[in-house]
């Protein structure tokens, strides 16, 4: 207040000074008059004058945030209070500088068993509350630490509670309606216009729009594993959509969410966000129940590892993650650690669930004199089913066949390893590769081995068969080899396709057919292969393609040029499984196409066999339907052309009549010359001779 007064006086003195400026003599001789004239009323208030100072003026509530209350402090007499203070401040000074503390005492000067600690900053108080709460001072005393600002909140808890109203059941409609399509037409999602628009299409001859929305997602979309839900990502969290109208089924709030993963059973959703409020640090990863929308458990994310951090088993009963020297398996629906302890595994590098069984495969790197190991264990019994020792291992990659029959471990091995001094990294030389092939379904799990000297660029199992294919390069030559697992420990080489342009391979989801693709830097070369006899059905290209996707039924293949990878010619093309181009769909700044997955078939093994046996009968029916459709399509096209032509001819007729009517005007404008036809005044043409060079011949003249 006082400061404000002085300042306002000073300002007034300035004013009087400027009044006197015209009279310098007077100014020099006389002291300027600083006092207010009579009857002056100060009309400038402090708020107007020094808002910045006032803003930093301390308030009563300031500092409350920096105070914590500590309960369960030992009750001591005055003689030991000093000692207690020392002990307590030693514990709490870990979190920040202690500004003051206060130990209330009763009439006997015995401390009351709680105290207040004030830090210099609320951040320290937060830290203290989080860490020191539950601190065991001794057997009898466990600290209970609370923020002073929370005190009121907790003390005002009403005794009566209002039970929350049960939410009315909202019928989302038939979430699986799209499976009832008679012709088994699949759907796919497309993001285009650089992410501005998202649409769902039906894969009919010309794509039919099922749903198109602007700004449906802020980054990308995901289908759930069985195609029931479409997940969209937003700054605030995740939304799930489904049903015939793609209405919103559920929302999950997780600010800054970046990555998501569904459990295979579609019951749980895992979300990851790198953005965290300081208060809920434990919620970098959240697991949600999809049907209730409730958060089941939050996890911290300490170490950077590859997504998905949590891997689910086939039925969603267990999920697991890897830590340093351990794998932690959790169970649902309790979301607790299985048997309350992690599985200790020295030097574990990677693990993966069997896609069909409660079985985990993991591998450990070499440690001192013990070899690297690949181990299969059963969950929840933790019984080791198979152990394979390996030497000179640089790296391993595990690939399960989708039916869970086989596991292939691609092992990178070296002849020599050298530790570089400066970086402490190990340099391997003379790398060669082999595939350890585990026959999981056979007794005692026998392991076969296939070796290659070339660098392996891609590997993939036939999803439901016994073949596997890999791309290997003996640079600059790139070859593709396909093997088949035979009973009795035999692995047969089917064929090596030499000198191919490929860096990716894609098996049809139903097996047998294989697409080799040279994506991105390889210009989008595509090769369609039938692996029963290893014939190439078609060799073609989608220039600059960035992605290839099989539809879930194995009938179609999509190749796409995504705007995310390439800025021009963004489009997706749909091919038949034999490599016949069916349609080209250019879309402005097209980004991503994802087929809507299908749930596993409900048909029994027997029924499937029966269908396969009678496939001829069915295919006849389909063929006739297809040819009928083609006929109508070409008929429609011809009809459309016919109509366009008739319309255009009518228009032209009318225009030509007009044109002919105005002939005289034109002749008049061009000095009486009729120029309507190109040679209409040929008499005016001048002949000109133009020379052409036809050929040059050199003839040697005989002497």
């Amino acid at each position: 207040m006082a400061a404000g007064k002085v300042d306002s006086d000073g300002r007034k003195s300035n004013r009087s000074e400027s009044q006197n400026e015209h009279d310098p003599d007077q100014y020099e001789e006389e002291e300027p008059d600083f006092s207010d004239p009579d009857g002056f009323v100060d009309d400038v208030d402090d708020e107007e004058l020094l808002p910045d100072l006032l803003r930093s003026k301390p308030k009563e509530s300031d500092g409350i945030d920096s105070v914590v209350i500590v309960d369960n402090v030992p009750q001591v007499g005055p003689e030991r209070l000093e000692k207690l203070k020392n002990v307590v401040s030693k514990i709490f000074s870990k979190f920040g500088k202690i500004k003051s503390d206060f130990y209330p005492v009763d009439e006997n000067n015995v401390s009351k068993g709680y105290c207040f600690v004030e830090f210099t900053s609320p951040v320290h108080a937060q830290e203290a509350m989080k860490t020191a709460d539950g601190y065991k001072l001794d057997k009898q005393h466990t600290f209970a630490v609370n923020l002073f600002s929370d005190f009121e909140k907790y003390s005002a808890v009403p005794d009566e509670i209002d039970p929350p109203e049960p939410r009315p059941y909202k019928d989302p409609g038939n979430l699986l309606y799209w499976l009832q399509n008679k012709e088994c037409v699949d759907m796919y999602s497309c993001i285009f216009e650089g992410g501005e628009k998202t649409a769902i299409y039906s894969n009919t001859t010309e794509p039919t729009v099922v749903q198109e929305r602007a700004r449906w997602t802020e980054t990308y979309v995901r289908w759930s594993p069985n195609g029931t839900y479409l997940a969209t990502l937003h700054a605030k969290g995740i939304a799930l959509w489904g049903g015939p109208e793609f209405s919103q089924i559920m929302r999950f709030s997780h600010p800054g969410v970046q990555l998501i993963d569904f459990s295979p059973c579609e019951r749980y959703l895992v979300t990851f966000s790198p953005v965290q409020e300081p208060r809920d640090e434990g919620d970098a990863i959240i697991i949600w129940d999809i049907r209730t929308g409730l958060k089941k458990r939050g996890f911290m994310c300490e170490n950077q590892s590859t997504w998905p951090i949590f891997k689910w088993n086939v039925d969603g009963k267990y999920f697991a993650r890897m830590g340093t020297d351990q794998i932690s398996v959790y169970e649902t629906p309790s979301f607790g650690l299985l048997e309350k302890k992690s599985i200790k595994i020295q030097g574990v590098r990677d693990f993966t669930w069997s896609p069909t069984d409660n079985m985990i495969a993991y591998w450990t790197s070499e440690h001192k004199n013990s070899p690297a190991r690949v181990v299969l264990i059963e969950i929840p019994s933790r019984k080791e089913l198979c152990v394979r020792n390996l030497f000179n291992v640089a790296d391993c990659k595990m690939h399960w066949q989708k039916a869970g029959d086989y596991l292939c471990v691609k092992v990178d091995r070296y002849f020599k390893a050298k530790k570089t001094e400066e970086t402490d990294q190990i340099k391997y030389s003379g790398i060669h590769y082999n595939f350890e092939l585990f026959r999981v379904r056979e007794k005692l799990i026998p392991v076969d081995k296939v070796e290659t000297k070339d660098q392996v660029m891609a590997f993939a199992w036939e999803p439901n068969g016994s073949r596997f294919a890999f791309i290997h390069s003996d640079s600059p030559k790139i070859n593709v080899t396909v093997y088949k697992m035979k009973p009795d420990g035999k692995v047969d080489l089917l064929k090596t396709l030499e000198k191919r342009v490929a860096n990716h391979l894609f098996w049809s989801p139903t097996g047998q057919f294989l697409v080799l693709a040279g994506l991105r830097s390889m210009n989008g070369v595509l090769e369609f292969i039938d692996t029963t006899d290893m014939t190439t059905m078609n060799q073609t290209e989608h220039f600059m393609a960035t992605d290839v996707e099989w539809d879930p039924t194995g009938r179609y293949v999509v190749s796409a040029v995504s705007w995310w990878g390439h800025k021009v010619d963004n489009a997706y093309w749909i091919w038949s499984f034999q490599g016949n181009l069916l349609t080209k769909q250019p879309l402005e700044r097209f980004c991503q196409l994802l087929w809507r997955p299908r749930p596993p078939t409900l048909l029994s093994e027997k029924k499937l066999k029966e269908i396969k046996k009678n496939v001829k009968k069915y295919s006849q029916q389909f063929d006739s339907e297809d040819s009928q459709k083609r006929k109508t399509a070409s008929k429609e096209l011809l009809e459309k052309r016919q109509q366009l032509l008739t319309e255009f001819e009518d228009y032209r007729q009318q225009k030509l009549e007009e044109y002919n009517r105005t002939r005289d005007i034109r002749i008049e404008m061009r000095d009486g010359v009729d120029t309507d036809d190109i040679d209409s005044h040929e008499e005016n043409f001048e002949e000109e001779t133009i020379e052409f060079l036809l050929k040059v011949e050199e003839i040697i003249v005989e002497e």
Binding site: M544, R641, L644, I678, D679, F685, E691
Partner: protein
């Protein structure tokens, strides 16, 4: 048939035109020197020397006696076609973007660029009045509001002028009163070219929005759309068949790889009526800036950013081809 390559320009071609009979090809380029060639064998007949800047536009009158060229050097020059002598040099305040003879050849239309704070203008000169040409005083000058004219075309009877603009509009200006009669916006980006059908009842526009469109000349009713996936710089209607040829390609500054495949510098042939593409001609290794049918419809010429003009004569199967209906 093997195409004829017209080599002689040192920089990218801006416009190519046939005379009415089709025996001569006139070409302008950024190298300042317009040329005239025999269309039959590609031999250069002569050039028109005198400009000091890129020549954006050129035209030849109906009886092939005079040539008009518009340049970035702020002049529009009238030449004697046969001798190559410069008759008049009209001076403008900014660069000349388009210039053309009217149907009778008696009126010259000139449009200027909107630069240095000066507006785009559409000017008309009487070709028979030496006073106007010598003193650069048009009998009518229309200040063009909004975006500048990038291409212009005379209506059939000198009554109006159709202009294409930088932001995709098309307008019709009355050449007597100077009033704007019509304005449409069917294109979302710059219109690079406007060409009329043989009888001038229809016009085809070429736009940077990767489409070409067909319009009725008098009403500017939109009739057809021809879609590509690259800039369209020029389009021309066949005088004898219901075909339209489009030239364009990825802009030179946008080309990131040296591959001509990605640039798509092809001439593309569409059915005028069905809007379906049925043929492509490769050859240029830069975007095609200008494409035009020969008046007899049996060949066409294209000029490109690569500095070449290619004259293609159609094979017999071009004339045999018909859409199934």
């Amino acid at each position: 048939m093997k195409p004829i390559l017209l080599q002689g320009h040192e920089r990218s071609i801006t416009q190519v035109k046939y005379n009415r009979e089709g025996d001569l090809i006139f070409s302008s380029s950024k190298d300042n020197i317009p040329n005239v060639w025999y269309s039959l064998n590609g031999e250069r007949l002569g050039s028109y020397n005198g400009h000091n800047g890129a020549v954006w536009s050129l035209d030849v009158n109906w009886d092939t006696t005079k040539v008009l060229t518009g340049s970035a050097d702020n002049t529009c020059k009238l030449w004697d076609c046969e001798t190559g002598k410069n008759i008049y040099s009209i001076e403008t305040r900014t660069g000349v973007r388009t210039c053309s003879f009217s149907f009778s050849g008696r009126i010259l239309a000139v449009s200027t660029d909107k630069t240095m704070g000066l507006p785009c203008e559409l000017q008309f000169y009487d070709a028979l009045d030496p006073q106007q040409l010598r003193q650069s005083k048009p009998f009518l000058s229309i200040p063009v509001e909004g975006s500048k004219i990038t291409t212009a075309l005379w209506g059939p009877f000198e009554e109006y002028m159709i202009t294409g603009h930088e932001t995709g509009e098309m307008r019709q200006y009355d050449t007597k009163t100077g009033e704007q009669v019509l304005e449409i916006k069917e294109h979302s980006k710059q219109i690079n070219d406007l060409q009329g059908s043989k009888d001038l009842t229809m016009i085809v526009s070429a736009s940077k929005d990767s489409t070409a469109k067909l319009f009725d000349t008098s009403t500017l009713d939109h009739l057809k759309t021809y879609k590509t996936e690259r800039n369209v710089n020029s389009a021309s209607i066949s005088p004898i068949r219901d075909h339209v040829v489009l030239g364009g390609g990825q802009e030179a500054m946008e080309v990131t790889t040296t591959s001509t495949r990605i640039g798509k510098f092809d001439a593309r042939f569409f059915s005028l009526v069905f809007e379906e593409e049925f043929a492509r001609v490769k050859g240029h290794f830069g975007p095609i800036n200008t494409v035009v049918f020969h008046p007899d419809g049996k060949s066409y010429a294209s000029g490109a950013e690569d500095g070449f003009i290619r004259v293609h004569y159609f094979d017999p199967n071009y004339f045999d081809f018909d859409f199934e209906i």
